[in-house]
């Protein structure tokens, strides 16, 4: 068949496309993924009982802001990488800045602490399980994000997969923070960062296969 015939086929029975339709499905996927992650966290791990007291401590807000800001930055980047012809610009700064800030906070906390307390600041009580738990909590978001991105049109699949994975990881860490007992910046800088890096890495590895269109 000739290209002209294909053109006719494609133009038949044409449906209007809503402006910015691309955003709707993405937001819906994020909402569903985030909700499932929150439910899984609440039933699987349990929400901390002392949230009312916690809300008065600055560190609790740092613990939410760190993955929160990363999620926002990763969302912008994943979105740009999912729309053909969009440039990344300086969006990666949104990832670098919160990570560097938390590392600086962690370093300051370590330097100011007596030598005997440093190990506690680094490892807390849950370093063995923290990163993997974050990765687990983020998995429904990971599936939702990849599904939504495939519906768009990413052209750099590895990078797009990594950005989508980071987005999932950051949402997972945000949700997990409501369970997590740790309150030290060095702990965040290592185990939270690692927990978010796992889905990002998985997204980078699987991107070419998951996102191809």
């Amino acid at each position: 068949m000739k290209t002209d015939d294909l053109v006719s086929l494609l133009a038949t029975d044409l449906r209007p496309v809503a402006a910015n339709a691309s955003l709707h499905r993405f937001s819906a996927a994020m909402a569903v993924g985030g909700l499932v992650a929150a439910l899984a966290m609440a039933t699987g791990f349990g929400v901390r009982a002392d949230l009312a007291v916690l809300a008065l401590t600055p560190m609790f807000w740092v613990k939410l802001a760190f993955p929160g800001v990363l999620a926002a930055a990763a969302l912008v980047i994943a979105m740009r990488l999912s729309l053909p012809g969009r440039l990344l610009g300086g969006a990666w700064v949104g990832i670098a800045v919160p990570v560097l800030l938390v590392w600086a906070m962690g370093l300051a906390a370590l330097l100011n602490a007596p030598a005997a307390e440093r190990e506690g600041l680094l490892l807390g009580a849950s370093w063995r399980s923290c990163s993997l738990s974050i990765a687990m909590v983020s998995s429904p978001v990971f599936i939702a994000v990849m599904w939504a991105m495939k519906d768009l049109a990413p052209t750099r699949l590895r990078l797009a997969g990594a950005a989508g994975g980071l987005l999932a990881g950051a949402v997972g860490a945000f949700v997990y923070a409501f369970h997590c007992p740790e309150m030290a910046a060095p702990f965040l800088g290592i185990w939270y960062a690692l927990g978010m890096a796992i889905p990002a890495l998985a997204g980078g590895l699987l991107g070419p296969r998951l996102l191809r269109w």
């Binding site: 068949m1 006719s8 494609l10 729309l83 053909p84 012809g85």
Partner: protein
């Protein structure tokens, strides 16, 4: 001088195609038909240069890119130029093809100048190797007949319905589903 000419041509093509594309997004099939037709001319010129060594692949890739543009038209954001968007899609499809053949480094012309997408037009069409006629014959009758009668023979939905004994809505659904199935087959065999 020639560069200036080619730049104004690119700007004009962008404006013309974008206007048609916008109408198409609103559901105007006639404008959209024009858009795809003119776009295929641009794509053919662009791809023929890039796939210099594989003239047989050009028409296949023109068709594949047209389908991609159609399938992904919801990813174009209102208010943005069309050129970088189409270029990114065409480039992706070229790289996809070249990667499949593991000959990416043999690319004879750099793909990165996005203005190029509308800079070369090529109307002369060679037959696509992928035989859409054969793919069409693989569709079930309830999809194939509506497409053949309505789209290829140009009958009205009512006439096609009388001819096939199907209801009018069944003909419409057949065309719609058949096109989707066809696009999937084309992609699957790409």
């Amino acid at each position: 001088m020639e560069r200036i000419h080619s730049e104004t041509r690119v700007v004009q093509t962008e404006a013309r195609l974008k206007a048609l594309f916008l109408q198409g997004l609103e559901g105007d099939g006639v404008a959209y038909h024009q858009f795809l037709k003119q776009l295929s001319v641009q794509l053919r010129g662009f791809l023929r240069k890039r796939l210099f060594g594989w003239p047989d692949d050009v028409e296949d890739l023109v068709q594949e890119t047209l389908i991609a543009v159609h399938d992904k038209r919801h990813t174009w954001r209102l208010g943005e130029p069309l050129t970088p968007w189409v270029h990114a899609i065409a480039r992706y499809k070229v790289i996809d093809l070249l990667r499949a053949r593991a000959v990416r480094e043999a690319l004879n012309d750099p793909l990165d100048d996005e203005q190029e997408i509308f800079a070369s037009a090529e109307t002369a069409e060679t037959e696509a190797r992928r035989d859409l006629g054969r793919l069409l014959s693989e569709l079930p009758d309830r999809q194939r007949l509506p497409i053949v009668h309505v789209k290829l023979e140009g009958l009205s939905v009512l006439e096609a319905a009388r001819l096939t004994g199907m209801s009018e809505s069944a003909v419409k659904i057949g065309v719609h589903r058949g096109l989707k199935a066809l696009a999937a087959k084309i992609r699957g065999n790409g």
